[in-house]
Symmetry: C2
Subunit: 211 residues, 2 copies
């Protein structure tokens, strides 16, 4: 009578890992820190509890892998967006626009990042991922800022510090907005960042950021 329903299906390890990471991110976005749970993630991925530990010896490694995946995805999005610009000034505008896009600026995401940050201090793996991805972000900004400085005949400026500042402004606005989206509008956020880049191009930061 009842057809013997398939109890589970096999998937290639690579696919399964991707599948688990995706479920992890969904779980963290929904439950925040409470989502760091083998059982909750297993339920979100619709697999058994044991399968998680089959692929990841400990749950920390799954979280770490999810961190790397999310960071890499966003870094790629920002890189692609900025590369599509014509000239450094336009590239920076696209970087800013993408930073305030729905994929990045999302209150649900705050719950995810907060989990990651909380683990950076106690996990060497997470520290490594953090440093690598932060380096990626800043490197992209440094390249465009350096080109912009050259275009505007700005010399002896500390590009690394400038990229750090712009990145911090973006991060700070992101954090502020995620904690309470009513703090400011997306347009104002973009305007504040664009204003910073304009000021940079005009040499407004030169006196403080000499190399």
């Amino acid at each position: 009578m009842a057809a013997p329903t398939r109890k589970f299906s096999r998937i290639q390890p690579e696919m399964r890992r991707e599948h688990l990471v995706e479920a992890t991110l969904r779980c963290l976005a929904e439950h925040g820190h409470a989502g760091v749970s083998v059982r909750k993630i297993a339920a979100a991925a619709d697999v058994s509890i044991g399968l998680i530990n089959h692929y990841y010896p400990s749950i920390d490694q799954l979280i770490s892998h999810a961190y790397e995946t999310l960071s890499g995805g966003i870094a790629n999005g920002l890189l692609e967006a900025s590369e599509s610009g014509v000239g450094p000034r336009d590239s920076l505008s696209r970087f800013i626009q993408e930073s305030f896009g729905p994929a990045v600026l999302n209150p649900d995401m705050l719950g995810v990042w907060v989990v990651f940050w909380s683990m950076v201090r106690h996990s060497a793996d997470m520290q490594a991922v953090q440093q690598r991805t932060y380096g990626q972000y800043r490197q992209v900004l440094e390249r465009h800022l350096a080109a912009l400085a050259r275009d505007n005949n700005l010399t002896d400026i500390n590009i690394q510090a400038a990229a750090t500042a712009l990145n911090a402004l973006l991060d700070g606005l992101w954090l502020t907005w995620c904690l309470n989206p009513q703090n400011f509008s997306v347009e104002d956020g973009v305007a504040m960042c664009e204003g910073w880049v304009d000021a940079f191009a005009a040499g407004a930061f030169l006196p403080r950021l000499k190399v």
Copy 2:
């Protein structure tokens, strides 16, 4: 022979609450999210497990109280520091200096704030504390920035957006530094913020931040 050692001592409710909050902050700084534990906090405060629940019906309320205490303390420190300045420009410098002082810029603190932020989304109490304290920070910045704008004959500038941006720059640098203190030096951090204020005073943001 052995003197009957006192098993515990009574303290006035107000003092006890302060004592518990202090232990909570120490616990969060040391253990991060794992520090959100009645047992760990009780051990840190050297009291019994039950006493926590005597003063706080649920642990969330203790965390919320700790959030309010820490935020209020830092807000007071920043307010006092900035009030000691002569004129708006100096006040802002002192605000910046204090923001990069050891009481605020401390990697241990990141673990504490991360716990608070993670609870903001799911707790109305925490949301209320967040909005109140963020308003305090920004209000102080708005006052000094408005005075500085007046001194420099800048009109029709969106002071609220400017305060948001400066606050975000401070927060973003704080976050970046706490995640990895080797990202930049404190002096560079101060320089980037001072540079932003200089650019603001020079009217560099006027085109983007018209009211």
